[in-house]
Amino acid sequence: MKKIYCNIKKCLGCGSCEIACAVEHSKAKELNSTISENPLPIKRRRAEFVEENVAISTGCQHCDNAACVTACMSGAMYKEAKTGLTQHDRDKCVGCWMCIMTCPFGAITREKQEKQVVKCDLCPDRDKPACVEACPTKALYLGTLKEFKEILK
């Protein structure tokens, strides 16, 4: 399964991934107009500090046995059989926050007004997710675990 991996050794915690993610998931998909949108688009990744000068960019890990899917009371969170990704169906979501309660990575964010949640969807409209492209140090990588381990060598 392809997903996004972060090389902690390269991550600066600069937050470029966060901005790129928010812009990609905005209406305008372009920074200048995005910042005047109401509500502001929500980022689905966070650059989080582990300790001083050590950071990781994290988001949905598309878990194999996904706690959010098990907890979801409406069937909105589901595993996509073809790709193995954890997907979210807005038409089903009721905004109960059970998925937030159970995701060990804190990867899900509320859309308070809409009573919906958002999380990483690997940018369905792009070849490469926006965050991966935006990372100035190439700390983010899209691929399989095997491929990621390969490039670490």
Partner: protein, 441 residues
């Protein structure tokens, strides 16, 4: 191989899905006394409130049984289990007005059986509970019946300040009714949150016009055939046309009675969710499992636990050897825009527990973690809930958090902050996804 599953809700459906990941062809028979069981029980109060479309409660497609090659026996009640013959006795006439009895039963053979019969609402033991207009809220049928009489209802009394009582109160307020909640104990949601969180929630609920009376219980439901009011134990009377009883649930263990299957409050299970009888499993609201925070056998009658237990039981029925990590009490509740999530032990009763609390009145934020020997046993987050799952991971993996104690309730306490703990942990965090995040550390 023939699998039989009694109960077709969270636990039963998850078990079907799990079995089918390992065994595509063997026969699965699902027995349910509800005729249309593929709805999400948790969502019936949302539907009553009118905040979601009807279609949202059908959380699995109509074609679920067909797609999973399940033979459903719907509107059929299981009435006994013969563990020697490996048979379930079922009554085909449930719901048709006839009481299940040995005279109209049939037997269904099983090789592996799952008891996922869930729980039933406890009814108040006071005069008048049999009057027209008194309801629990557990099934879609209850919800439909309540809905059908709403035109004639102006005032509602909710007996019980637990999750279901308050969800019903919220729903009926949303439908324009005058709602009063009578809570025997000193505070609402006393099984789920602590006093401070309860006060914040009660304030918000009352601001929106629902009346809450604590320390008062109903002693009688008055009226002729239909409800006209409730008489309270403080001597006063309250007029209403509808009474909702939210007094908690009790596990449906009758099916196991006299069968040789061991029960306590619920059906006892092993780490594999097997009962004391070979080839018979149990999961969901009816099953007792090891509670991670309490460290003892208990029932956590919640949706995520029912689904996870159903999944593990299903896998083991199909021949896997999956261990269940244990259950953890948890709830997510939002009334009128104030979200609250609680996990594990939130009202510690002994001095061995330590509490760390953060209050931010301006932002309506309240956070607390409960610790025992440096390990988190429970938490409540009010109005700042995004990272509570990270706390949940620390509870499940029994990590000593002494090193991060000072920052654990800060807004910025996120997954990144627990990475050093994951790296250090020898026994916990077994899932691949945790390991992947620390590969490069």
């Amino acid at each position: 191989m023939q699998y039989v599953i009694i109960g077709s809700s969270a636990a039963g459906i998850s078990a079907v899905e799990a079995i089918r990941t390992k065994d595509k062809d063997s026969k699965i028979i699902v027995i349910s006394d509800e005729k249309n069981p593929l709805y999400s029980r948790c969502l019936i109060s949302y539907l009553l409130a009118g905040t979601i479309d009807e279609k949202k409660i059908w959380y699995r497609k109509d074609s679920f049984f067909k797609n999973n090659k399940v033979e459903p026996l719907l509107g059929v009640k299981a009435i006994g289990i013969d563990i020697k013959k490996k048979e379930v006795a079922v009554s085909n006439f449930a719901g048709e007005g006839l009481k299940p009895s040995p005279a109209n039963k049939e037997n269904v053979k099983f090789d592996r059986l799952l008891i996922a019969t869930g729980a039933s609402p406890k009814l108040e033991n006071i005069p008048g509970v049999d009057k027209k207009g008194v309801f629990p809220l557990r099934t879609i049928e209850h919800m439909t019946e309540i809905q059908a009489m709403l035109d004639k209802v102006k005032s509602v009394a909710v007996l019980g300040g637990g999750l279901i009582g308050l969800r019903a109160a919220y729903a009926l307020k949303n439908r324009g009714k005058d709602v009063s909640v009578f809570v025997k104990s000193g505070s609402i949601l006393s099984q789920i949150v602590d006093k401070d969180a309860a006060i914040l929630m009660q304030k918000r609920i009352e601001e929106k016009g629902i009346k809450i009376f604590t320390g008062v219980a109903a002693k009688e439901i008055t009226g002729d055939k239909s409800v006209k009011g409730v008489a309270l134990d403080n001597g006063s009377k309250h007029a209403c046309e509808l009474v909702i009883i939210g007094k908690g649930v009790s596990p449906n263990i009758e099916i196991a009675r006299d069968s040789g299957i061991k029960t306590n409050r619920g059906i006892l299970t092993s780490d594999f969710l097997k009962t004391n009888i070979e080839d018979i499993f149990s999961a969901g609201d009816v099953a007792e499992t090891n509670d991670i925070a309490l460290g003892e056998s208990s029932i956590n009658a919640i949706w995520p636990a029912a689904c996870e237990q159903g999944r593990i039981a299903g896998l083991n029925m199909a021949g896997e050897k999956e261990t269940y990590e244990g259950s953890l009490a948890m709830n997510s509740i939002e009334f009128f825009g104030l979200p609250v999530i609680s996990v594990g032990i939130t009202r510690p009763k002994s001095a061995v527990y330590e509490e760390i609390v953060k209050k931010d009145a301006a932002r309506n934020i309240y956070k607390k973690v409960v610790l025992k020997d440096g390990i988190i046993a429970g938490a409540i987050f009010v109005n700042s809930i995004e990272n509570i799952g990270v706390i949940g991971a620390l509870i499940k993996n029994k990590v000593d958090i002494t090193g991060v104690k000072d920052i654990i309730l800060e807004d910025y306490f996120d997954y990144g902050k627990i990475i050093p703990l994951i790296k250090k942990s020898k026994k916990g965090f077994r899932e691949q996804e945790f390991k992947e995040t620390i590969l490069t550390l």
